[in-house]
């Protein structure tokens, strides 16, 4: 027998809202990567247009979180869930912004005819895969998946560092297409940050399930 019908209902509603916004962000990320790979400006535009919906939903989710905190004063796992959702909410919005940044770079890249075509496939698949799974772990509150996501962050970091050297090389060999390579580096950085966002969300999920703050573990 539960005395918390209202609280459970409000929480269910909140989880639906964040899952919905997570889907929007996933779609935006996928579309932005498609735009980069196909140089198709229509994909790029759909991402930029869709970002407003992600931003609006972020505000509504935050409001709903604060309402629940004020009205029900949750404790224990209920409290940790609110903390995790409140933080993941901001991360999802930032992922939407990153998708827009990537989409915006497509215009610059489409104008250039570089000698060396940049292949983002590996990094894009890794980062967007991490992001997608981090959001799934939030939706299903699955700590195991979350921990796997955290472990993958290093690979993306390595790829991004390697891109620095590649860009320097390309700029020296093909200076006329410098705008293309600099945009490529921006996309690489966006992907690296997307992986960071996935890691942050995954860390929030681990906190939600275990009450353990695993952030900044690697630096210790």
């Amino acid at each position: 027998m539960t005395m918390k019908v209202h609280f459970e209902k409000a929480t269910r509603n909140l989880r639906e809202m964040i899952t919905e916004n997570a889907e929007r962000a996933k779609t935006a990320v996928r579309a932005s990567l498609k735009a980069v790979q196909t140089k198709d400006l229509e994909f790029a535009e759909s991402v930029v247009d869709g970002d407003m919906a992600i931003d609006m939903a972020e505000n509504m989710i935050e409001e709903q979180c604060l309402n629940i905190l004020a009205l029900y004063q949750p404790v224990a796992e209920d409290l940790r869930r609110m903390a995790a959702i409140l933080k993941a909410n901001g991360e999802i919005e930032r992922a939407g912004d990153l998708a827009s940044s990537i989409a915006n770079r497509v215009r610059d890249m489409a104008r250039e005819t570089p000698r060396i075509n940049w292949d983002f496939t590996e990094m894009a698949e890794l980062a967007s895969g991490m992001f997608s799974r981090a959001l799934d772990s939030l939706e299903t509150e699955n700590e195991k998946i979350a921990k796997q996501v955290i472990d993958e962050d290093d690979k993306v970091d390595e790829l991004h560092h390697a891109d620095y050297a590649r860009v320097a090389n390309c700029l020296a060999n093909d200076p006329t297409a410098s705008a293309y390579y600099l945009s490529a580096l921006t996309v690489s950085r966006c992907l690296e940050r997307l992986a960071d966002i996935a890691t942050n969300i995954a860390e929030d999920v681990v906190y939600l399930k275990t009450a353990e703050i695993v952030r900044h573990r690697a630096q210790k």
């Binding site: 918390k4 949750p74 404790v75 224990a76 796992e77």
Partner: protein, 254 residues
């Protein structure tokens, strides 16, 4: 790090109302100069447990406690213990304020006259100190001769706290001390408890989970006469170890 000092050590405490067993092998350490909150659903034994600490249950026929309850290393369940002295050392505040039908002054002077040999002047001093200690002096200093029962509910409860601390106890037991008090009066008593912890060891039974989380250092969760979980309050309300505790503090039953 300073070693924790336990004021009360309860070991395998069992309690019976006639044939009915109400407490089962309770083990609980109460740290000195801290506030320990005892929480749990109605009938879980939290008040029963508290009432063992000053053996007030003995006022009723057919109730008995088995096990050991050490206060400063001495077992207070020992039949040879001086009960009057025990009850001076272990003061108690009840759910409903219980001022005696006498003046504000005499309410507080009562335990002083009972326990200490003091001159009129000393009594007056001690009464004032106790009323100040209970954060009530400023509100009653001009009506010390008026009936204690004429005060507001919150003031009556602080009068009872003044009366309890006038006996110079070491431990204060509070059995839902604010459940009959309005929010402002509750806040005053909670602020007062925060100051009292410097001088006394406090054990409070409360139904108000937010109160337990606001004021206590340690929380013990009772269920069906057993202690399910004891730990730092912060942990009990953020990450309880036991599923029952989690369900209770998050309001899923009780």
């Amino acid at each position: 790090m300073q070693k924790k000092k336990n004021k009360i050590e309860t070991k395998r405490l069992n309690f019976f109302y006639g044939d009915h067993q109400a407490l089962f092998d309770n083990d609980l350490s109460i740290e000195a100069n801290k506030i320990t909150a005892v929480i749990g659903p109605s009938g879980c034994g939290k008040s029963t447990h508290l009432r063992v600490y000053n053996r007030i249950f003995e006022l009723h026929r057919g109730q008995r406690a088995e096990g050991e309850v050490f206060i400063d290393g001495k077992d207070i369940l020992d039949p040879g213990i001086d009960l009057l002295d025990l009850r001076r050392r272990v003061g108690m505040i009840f759910q409903k304020p219980t001022p005696f039908p006498m003046s504000v002054f005499d309410n507080v002077a009562y335990p002083i006259r009972l326990h200490f040999k003091a001159s009129q002047k000393e009594i007056a001093e001690r009464v004032e100190n106790a009323l100040r200690g209970a954060a009530l002096w400023d509100e009653v200093k001009d009506k010390l001769r008026e009936s204690g029962q004429a005060l507001s509910g919150g003031q009556q409860q602080r009068l009872c706290i003044a009366r309890a601390i006038a006996a110079e106890p070491e431990i204060l037991l509070m059995d839902e001390p604010t459940s009959a008090i309005d929010p402002v009066g509750t806040l005053k008593i909670e602020e007062l408890m925060d100051r009292l912890r410097e001088r006394f060891t406090i054990v409070i039974v409360t139904h108000n989970m937010q109160q337990a989380s606001r004021i206590s250092d340690t929380t013990a969760f009772f269920y069906k006469g057993s202690i399910v979980e004891v730990g730092p309050t912060k942990l009990i309300f953020t990450n309880p170890r036991n599923k029952l505790t989690e369900d209770y503090v998050s309001g899923r039953f009780g």
